[in-house]
């Protein structure tokens, strides 16, 4: 029997070596999977963009890049918004474009200062729709405390865009209290989420009207700096890392952080806040809310001694009342995210290969 288990060990070793290698981009064409935030996206980013641009700030793979100018630490981020439909319960593309970018700054530990807005408009777009989205951007910027200081406009032929696309770029000043790094996680650290999960992605799926389902679910889009601000006050240097749980959901964020820090994570499914409407829709569609996008919910990793303080501070922030401690970082097995299911079993919560596709069986 000894050589049998030797062979098994050897094969597991080969797989581990293959998995630890940097993702390579080897596809012939771009498919929708490359935009889904899972393994295919990772191969594109880590296998093509990062090596080609070869910049240390980019290589960190944070939500924003950090730039040091004469001792002032700035965070810079950019994001494109192609959501369909343009308006959905709880928000719209304009509001999303502002909040998405200021949130990437916030979870990088930076107070948002200013953003730029570029719009790609489709020939034939209704002017009233555009006016509404411009208003939505202005309102969201005011609410987030940032100025819109630059912009660009392009128009493309009918059929070349879904009404409008919006790109925003933001700059923020890294807060002196921020000591965040994706590789700073240690065994024992607690995993917090800032609110109930899966609402944005579910609201969008239902708003498309293809499923014939109706439920009162609204996008959670909101600016996160106020929540990040109180977390710094509550946990200071004991706050290890923050991540905006957008595309790919909380599960993808946890996998990225576990890999970056070489720790394991153990999540208690029972403690994950999911509204019953979201749970019901996900149940019908055969999709796990842990993989569904959020637009106003982040993951915070906090040293154990600061976890209670951080959670109490978060819950006092409007929109974060449902914040929860959902699990713990562990030593073994490094890079893996495990879940204790509400039923009582334990399983692996892996990265997505592509879009979460509904199952037939």
């Amino acid at each position: 029997m000894a050589d049998v288990s030797d062979r098994e060990q050897r094969i597991l070793g080969i797989i581990e070596t293959a998995r630890a290698k940097r993702a390579r981009f080897r596809d012939d064409r771009i498919t929708m999977s490359h935009g889904a935030g899972g393994k295919a996206t990772q191969s594109l980013v880590e296998g093509l963009f990062v090596p080609a641009f070869d910049s240390p700030a980019l290589g960190v793979l944070g939500d924003a890049g950090l730039v040091d100018i004469d001792g002032v630490r700035l965070a810079l981020t950019t994001d494109a918004f192609v959501v369909r439909p343009l308006r959905f319960p709880g928000g719209s593309i304009g509001e999303l474009a502002v909040n998405g970018t200021v949130n990437d700054l916030a979870v990088s530990g930076a107070r948002p200062l200013a953003i730029s807005v570029s719009v790609v408009l489709e020939e034939g777009l209704d002017a009233e729709t555009l006016r509404e989205e411009v208003d939505a951007m202005a309102t969201a910027a005011t609410r987030a405390g940032v100025n819109i200081v630059a912009g660009d406009t392009k128009v493309v032929e009918r059929g070349k865009a879904d009404g409008m696309y919006v790109c925003t770029t933001g700059v923020g000043r890294v807060d002196d209290r921020a000591q965040l790094a994706p590789d700073a996680l240690r065994p024992g650290d607690r995993i917090l989420v800032s609110g109930s999960i899966g609402e944005h992605g579910t609201a969008i799926m239902l708003a498309r009207g293809e499923l014939g389902l109706e439920a009162p679910i609204e996008s959670d889009t909101r600016a996160l700096w106020p929540a990040v601000d109180v977390l710094f006050d509550a946990a200071g240097e004991e706050l290890r890392c923050l991540r905006d749980a957008t595309r790919g959901g909380v599960a993808s964020v946890l996998n990225e952080l576990a890999r970056a820090s070489g720790v394991a994570m153990l999540v208690s499914e029972r403690d994950v806040p999911v509204r019953s409407e979201v749970a019901g829709a996900a149940e019908l569609l055969g999709i796990d809310p842990m993989y569904v996008a959020n637009e106003g919910t982040f993951v915070a990793i906090v040293a154990p001694e600061a976890a209670q303080r951080a959670l109490a501070a978060l819950r006092a922030v409007p929109g974060c009342e449902c914040a929860q401690d959902i699990g713990e970082c562990k030593g073994q097995p490094p890079g893996m995210v495990l879940v204790d299911t509400a039923f009582g079993g334990r399983r692996v919560m892996d990265q997505l290969a592509g879009d979460p596709l509904p199952r037939i069986c």
């Binding site: 062979r7 098994e8 094969i11 597991l12 080969i14 797989i15 581990e16 293959a18 012939d28 064409r29 771009i30 498919t31 929708m32 999977s33 293809e210 499923l211 394991a264 153990l266 019953s276 749970a279 019901g280 149940e283 796990d288 562990k330 030593g331 073994q332 097995p333 893996m336 495990l338 879940v339 204790d340 299911t341 509400a342 039923f343 009582g344 079993g345 334990r346 399983r347 692996v348 892996d350 290969a353 592509g354 596709l357 509904p358 199952r359 037939i360 069986c361």
Partner: protein, 371 residues
């Protein structure tokens, strides 16, 4: 969630796990196969296997309808999708299954009009909305989904939707089970029977398993408590020296199945003489085609597909993995030619297949005590 949480009660789960532990003989190793991909999914989702004693092993069976579609059929589907004017429709999880030159998702990226639908009726709706286009529905699944395809074809006929057709890949559950059971090296002690399929076909078609092959089968539902109870019922049979078909899923599955669904299927479909299964090879009378009465709605006849058979690489040992003869890592191509990114056999195609699970989580299984 009402009517759902009741079947996921952790207290009852622990109690059942205790009863299972009390039923097994220490020192005896039990291999049970869950036939249906839906069961495999539930087992992973809830961590059901984690609640079982170490000597009760679950083997994931051939019942994932997307994973068993061979490369040649995917290639045929892609060829159809590339036909001028065709809108090609299929279920979402079919889109990532590899043919010999890529997936339907990649065909879509190359310009084919491939659309995901949630029901064959959605495909019919697309056909009615696009009368100038040909709409093909790529039908897959066991007896569970075949009635809905049949009803859609009947409606297409009744409403005279001339631009709708169906590429039929429906398969039946009994022949692959018989093929597995016929192999002399089978190492399975019992079966968790497919609850959804049984809703349609009833319990009777499974009686040959205890009668001819001496293995118990318990038809099970898809909630974690259903699965634990079914496993307990199988182990109980083994302990009592009984061997029969039992029905755990009585709240849904009648013994005689659904006669109306069976009648519709008999009208719209006919048995194919043989059909190729990914990783299992050709199995006779294991799949359905459209009956002669519905031949005009058969996409394979309307368009003529290449029909080129793409052989699974010879080294692929999915059959042995499914029979429980070898472990995934003992397969010659495991982890080298066959990986989740470039899957060859059915066990690697599905993320819940035995090989994919072992590839991704084997290390976890080895180290789980450490956590």
């Amino acid at each position: 969630m009402r009517y759902v949480d009741e079947f996921r009660d952790p207290e009852l789960g622990r109690a059942l796990a205790g009863e299972i532990l009390a039923t097994v003989e220490p020192g005896r190793h039990y291999k049970l196969m869950e036939v249906c991909g839906g069961h495999t999914h539930s087992i992973y989702k809830y961590g059901v296997d984690d609640l079982l004693p170490a000597n009760v092993e679950l083997v994931h069976g051939p019942g994932c309808p997307v994973c068993v579609i061979p490369m040649g059929r995917v290639d045929d589907g892609i060829a159809l999708a590339h036909e001028a004017g065709v809108i090609f429709t299929c279920f979402g999880d079919m889109m990532r299954v590899p043919g010999s030159h890529g997936t339907l998702l990649e065909a879509k990226a190359q310009g084919a009009d491939v659309r995901m639908v949630y029901s064959p009726l959605d495909a019919l709706r697309i056909a009615k909305a696009n009368p100038e286009r040909e709409v093909v529905f790529f039908a897959i699944g066991f007896e569970t989904t075949a009635p809905s395809t049949a009803l859609t074809l009947k409606r297409a006929r009744a409403e005279g939707v001339a631009n709708f057709s169906c590429m039929c890949n429906h398969v039946t559950i009994v022949p692959p089970l018989r093929a597995l059971l016929d192999s002399p090296d089978l190492r399975l002690d019992g079966f968790i029977g497919p609850g959804h399929v049984a809703t349609v076909v009833g319990a009777r078609p499974f009686r040959f398993i205890p009668a001819d092959y001496g293995r118990p089968l318990v038809i099970a539902g898809f909630e974690p408590l259903d699965l634990l109870q079914a496993i307990h019922m199988i182990l109980r049979q083994l302990a009592d020296g009984r061997c029969e078909v039992e029905n755990q899923y009585t709240r849904v599955v009648p013994d005689e199945g659904n006669p109306r669904a069976l009648a519709v299927m008999a009208e719209v479909f006919a048995l194919r003489p043989h059909f190729e299964w990914r990783g299992l090879g050709f199995i006779s009378q294991s799949a359905l085609r459209l009956s002669d009465a519905y031949a005009d709605l058969d996409a394979e006849q309307r368009f003529g597909v290449p029909g080129v058979r793409v052989a699974d690489p010879k080294a692929c040992q999915c059959g042995e993995v499914l029979k429980g003869v070898i472990k995934p890592w003992e397969c010659k191509v495991f982890g080298t030619a066959c990986t989740p990114d470039h899957a060859i056999g059915t066990c690697m195609v599905s993320p819940e297949g035995a090989c994919a699970a072992y590839y991704n989580y084997g290390r976890f299984a080895r180290e789980r005590e450490v956590v």
